[in-house]
């Protein structure tokens, strides 16, 4: 069972990172959004330092949302998903394994890139560290919640934008707590631990709910 889980996760990550897999395109989109904001908001470094963490978080959220339709699409198209469902690996663990692999290929690069892009915004080091930490804790939640939407729209061919629209309301709490932790550090030295802990809770909770809901959704979409 563990072997099957790890091999599905590893295969998902490897296929996504290979050329033609589109895994690092999400990173490129993240960079584009981050670069666009100063053009829109103006070069005032104080303002950018204040809204920088929020921009990083929104850009990470959008990048994750747009990459979601790739989560199950390739496997559905070439029949691997049907083979996975026939295997002894429970569909819930299958969804969890796919999310783990997908996050490794798309979410983790965002976390690593965030401090680097944070230099564009002149964010102070404490807030930058906290943005990276909250992204590390929160992006798995985004992938997991997104997996529910991706699984629901499996029947559709071009479901990308619709999946993003469906998943967005459910990812708003993750965004709120992710940014609220950095605000606590930036505006006044108020304790930042409560939002971080709630973020962990959201990731853990979605780690339980998403596989169950996703497996039910895959079964409903494929029959």
């Amino acid at each position: 069972m563990t072997g099957a889980f790890l091999s599905v996760a590893a295969r998902t990550a490897e296929l996504s990172l290979r050329s033609g897999g589109g895994g690092l395109t999400g990173l490129l989109f993240f960079l584009c959004v981050v670069v666009l904001f100063p053009f829109g908001v103006g070069p005032d470094l104080n303002l950018l330092a204040r809204i920088g963490p929020a921009i990083l978080w929104v850009a990470a959220l959008l990048s994750t949302l747009l990459g979601l339709d790739r989560l199950f699409q390739d496997d559905r198209d070439d029949g691997t998903l049907d083979l996975y469902l026939l295997s002894p690996l429970p569909p819930e663990l299958l969804v969890l394994a796919k999310c783990a692999g997908h996050w490794f290929a798309t979410g983790l690069p965002l976390v690593v890139a965030a401090p680097v892009f944070g230099f564009f915004f002149n964010i102070e080091p404490a807030a930058l560290g906290l943005v990276t930490l909250t992204l590390l804790l929160g992006t798995p939640a985004l992938t997991l919640i997104g997996a529910i939407g991706a699984a629901l729209m499996l029947a559709l061919r071009q479901g990308g934008m619709l999946i993003a629209v469906l998943v967005l309301p459910f990812t708003i709490p993750v965004l709120i707590f992710g940014v609220s932790a950095t605000l606590a550090v930036q505006t006044a030295p108020t304790p930042f631990l409560p939002p971080v802990l709630i973020l962990c809770a959201l990731t853990l909770a979605s780690g339980v709910v998403a596989p169950v809901a996703g497996a039910a959704a895959i079964r409903a979409s494929l029959e």
Binding site: I148, L152, M153, L156, V209, A216
Partner: protein
């Protein structure tokens, strides 16, 4: 008369056909009485003056918006667990109605907020969570329309509805858990309502009227949905027979 007896769409259509005229008359009557009580037979607020009368539309609309989602969640359970055929129809029919009531609550609340708080909108916990509820309603309407086959669409939307149910307690307790500009609980409290009876009575009448309005709209919408599905089946059969 078990719930399974209502599973027959034809039987439901007869039931709806008989109940709807009575419901419509009752709704109109009670809403008229409620509106009269709200605008003429109740006192102005000591602080807000006459603006408080928006409450008699805003609060029942918000209550029905949440009750509608609760009904959709139960219908989603009916679809996924029991494969009850009318649960699909109820869920699909209720989504636009719930979205409408949420929109009424948001707009009337905004109109109320401008003279009393000085702002059309504020990002506090109650307003934000109700806005998220509105977005979830829209997402559900999109999910229903995305898949062609009604049975598959029903299962996909049902799962999404159940995932979104977590928002309901967040909305209800948002004024308790967070420091909000929106007023705290005045009616559904363990100590009983803190609102004056002269205002509670019109509020309850309007709530009853709005509930009846919701039920009337829901039954009509469910009837339309059943007819729509029959039409679709007939068209498919006709297309199949023509080849």
């Amino acid at each position: 008369m078990a719930l399974i007896d209502f599973a027959n769409p034809g039987r439901f259509l007869t039931f709806a056909g008989q109940t709807l005229p009575i419901l419509r008359v009752l709704t109109g009557l009670i809403l008229l009485i409620g509106l009269f009580m709200a605008f003429f037979a109740s006192p102005p607020d000591y602080q807000q003056g006459e603006t408080v009368r928006i409450m008699y539309i805003h609060v029942p609309a918000a209550w029905i918006a949440m009750a509608c989602y609760a009904l959709m969640a139960i219908a989603a359970l009916g679809t996924l667990v029991w494969r009850h055929p009318l649960a699909d129809v109820a869920g699909k029919a209720a989504a636009p109605i719930g979205a409408g009531f949420t929109l009424i609550a948001l707009v009337t609340g905004s109109l109320w907020g401008k003279p009393t708080w000085g702002t059309w909108w504020v990002w506090d916990a109650r307003l934000t969570s109700v806005l998220i509820l509105f977005l979830i309603y829209l997402a559900l309407i999109a999910a229903w329309r995305a898949v062609e086959d009604p049975g598959r669409a029903a299962r996909a939307a049902a799962i999404l509805t159940l995932v979104g149910t977590v928002n309901l307690p967040v909305i209800h307790y948002s004024v308790v858990w967070w420091n909000t500009l929106h007023q705290g609980r005045s009616v559904f409290r363990l100590d009983g309502p803190s609102i004056d009876p002269a205002m509670l009575r019109p509020l309850m009448v309007m709530a009853l009227g709005t509930l009846l309005l919701f039920l009337t709209l829901l039954l009509s919408a469910m009837r339309n949905e059943i007819h729509r599905r029959r039409l679709r089946t007939l068209r498919l059969t006709q297309a199949g027979a023509a080849t």
